[in-house]
């Protein structure tokens, strides 16, 4: 695509293929290509590079990426609820975020509210140890809301700055599991004024169009404040985030680009769009 010079049919077709291959989805792709064709006409563009340049600017400008809610010293603890489907990278992302907070001198507590999956709390415990965060866990099979209740009580008692609540992976169409999530959220709201201050949907970049359904249903159930797009170190681009921003109005706050503790950074729309080509 970058090698092409002319704005011919083949260029437009290859641009469409590039966006579909990046999981933008057909409707979003057609809208973007349609808008670019109009822009090309209006701006009298003749070179492929010009259109690519317009695309990069327009899409980057369109992508919302406000920072995480600031950790105000006054509201203690600052509570971050982390949700998403199975295997998307929630636990690992929490480990990375905890490490960042610790580097800034904040005290951190991790709450192991995944009481279902084998060794979920053990996995979070490793991340707590790595980042010097505290950990609250119950035995496997217990009530997740109870762990959250205890965790927040302990965090308040100890004057912890930031609490991350790790929840079990769940497919968004499972009614009882989404109800469980709502219950967890209610416990958080009752325990801490203004909490959860951040509710993050962790989304795997390899996910296709189902990501849109994930964003919608998790947002309905638990009022998301942002998305963490993980596994961008792979070949998938997670282009469905454009449709998510359009239809669910959610920003991408962070991207995960590896399995190590330092492989998380704030989302940068320009960098993201550059990487598409």
């Amino acid at each position: 695509l970058l090698g092409r010079k002319l704005l011919d049919d083949q260029f437009w077709e290859e641009l469409e293929e590039t966006l579909i291959a990046a999981d933008f989805g057909l409707p979003t792709t057609e809208k973007i290509v349609g808008d670019l064709k109009i822009a090309a006409q209006q701006q009298n563009l003749t070179l492929a590079d010009d259109v690519i340049r317009v695309f990069k600017t327009d899409v980057a400008d369109y992508i919302k990426h406000p920072a995480m809610a600031p950790v105000a010293a006054s509201t203690k603890p600052h509570v971050v609820l982390v949700v998403g489907v199975n295997g998307s990278g929630k636990t690992t992302t929490i480990g990375k975020l905890a490490a960042q907070d610790r580097k800034q001198g904040r005290s951190v507590m991790l709450v192991a509210a995944d009481t279902f999956r084998a060794a979920a709390a053990d996995q979070l415990a490793v991340w707590a140890q790595r980042s010097g965060a505290e950990l609250v866990r119950h035995t496997e099979g217990g009530d997740p809301a109870a762990v959250v209740f205890d965790g927040l009580a302990a965090a308040k008692a100890r004057g912890i700055d930031v609490v991350y609540v790790d929840t079990a992976g769940r497919l968004q169409t499972k009614h009882n599991l989404m109800e469980e999530l709502k219950k967890i959220r209610r416990v958080i709201e009752r325990a801490v004024e203004g909490a959860p201050h951040e509710t993050l949907l962790v989304l795997d970049a390899t996910t296709g169009q189902n990501a849109l359904s994930q964003a919608k249903l998790f947002h309905d159930a638990t009022n998301l404040t942002g998305i963490v797009l993980t596994k961008l170190d792979g070949t998938a681009k997670g282009g469905i985030i454009i449709a998510i921003m359009d239809q669910v109005d959610l920003p991408v706050k962070y991207i995960g680009f590896g399995e190590k503790v330092d492989q998380l950074r704030p989302f940068d729309p320009r960098g993201y769009v550059e990487a598409l080509f």
Partner: protein
């Protein structure tokens, strides 16, 4: 659904008189939309439409009293063909332990599916052994040993170490003790991670698995093709397991991975519990993909 949309299109086309080939082309565009919506890879969709075009613009459709249904049937049959038609079982060695290696991207469901397979094999009267070859992920070994206890299947683990050595010694133990199936749970990895892909190749060379199964998340998007192709080129897969089909992902990745590797999907994961594993039936997945 696709059949509703096709019925609506044909109704409009029909009102203009006799159906023509270009009318059916419009219909095939609708099929393309449905398949892309379902996450089937663009290249695979192209090839598929080209493969059914001749039949779709033939008399079977143009002269049918129910052309929408005729097209749906052609699409349905074509997708079933593409998925290999029948259910392909696991293969077992005539003598000695059968080694089954599970591979795939991070979080696709390998460890859980390993436990599910172990439970199924145990119920079938075989003596499986689970092997913890993921020495990287925090608490991966604990996850496998916990699942092993749940399904009453022994787990061979050495903690951290060299996965190839661990697999070799696990196989030796299996031979000594009499385990008929050895299930290797490997670490999730990107298909573009050279050192980790070489590790898998070494693992394969060391213990010669009879089955190398790629575990793929049913919600995987367009990259399913590149992932499957690379794993297949590097390892010569013998099959695949499609997971998390208990959600509402359409599962088009199934078509993509089958089309690009030619390897059969042997099982599907339909839940988080250890009994949530089913044999793959192409017709059920096709109905799901077509929405």
């Amino acid at each position: 659904t696709l059949s509703d949309r096709l019925a609506a299109i044909f109704q409009r086309l029909r009102s203009r008189g006799k159906l023509t080939e270009s009318d059916v082309s419009e219909v095939l565009r609708e099929v393309r939309v449905a398949l892309l919506e379902a996450d089937v890879n663009l290249g695979v969709v192209r090839d598929f439409i080209a493969a059914i075009r001749e039949r779709a613009v033939g008399a079977e459709v143009l002269e049918s009293l129910t052309p929408a249904q005729a097209v749906i049937k052609i699409v349905h049959d074509g997708l079933i063909d593409m998925l290999g038609g029948t259910t392909e079982p696991l293969h077992f060695a005539p003598t000695g332990p059968t080694v089954i290696m599970l591979v795939g991207l991070q979080g696709s469901g390998k460890t859980t599916q390993a436990a599910k397979l172990a439970a199924r094999l145990r119920e079938a009267g075989r003596r499986p052994l689970l092997v913890a070859c993921d020495v990287y992920r925090p608490a991966a070994i604990t996850q496998l040993t916990t699942l092993g206890e749940q399904v009453d299947v022994p787990v061979y683990e050495e903690g951290a170490g060299d996965p190839v050595g661990i697999a070799r010694r696990a196989l030796e133990q299996a031979r000594r003790v009499g385990n008929s199936v050895v299930l290797l749970d490997t670490a999730g990895r990107l298909q573009i991670d050279e050192p980790l892909m070489r590790e898998l190749a070494s693992l394969k060379a060391a213990v010669s698995p009879l089955e190398s199964l790629l575990v793929v998340d049913a919600m995987t998007g367009q990259e399913a093709v590149n992932v499957a192709k690379t794993f297949d080129e590097r390892l010569a897969l013998t099959g695949m397991i499609l997971t998390k089909l208990d959600g509402d992902a359409r599962g088009g990745a199934a078509l993509s991975i089958r089309a690009v590797t030619g390897k059969p999907i042997k099982f599907i994961g339909v839940g988080e519990k250890v009994n949530a594993l089913e044999e793959f039936h192409p017709d059920r997945l096709v109905s799901r993909i077509l929405g």
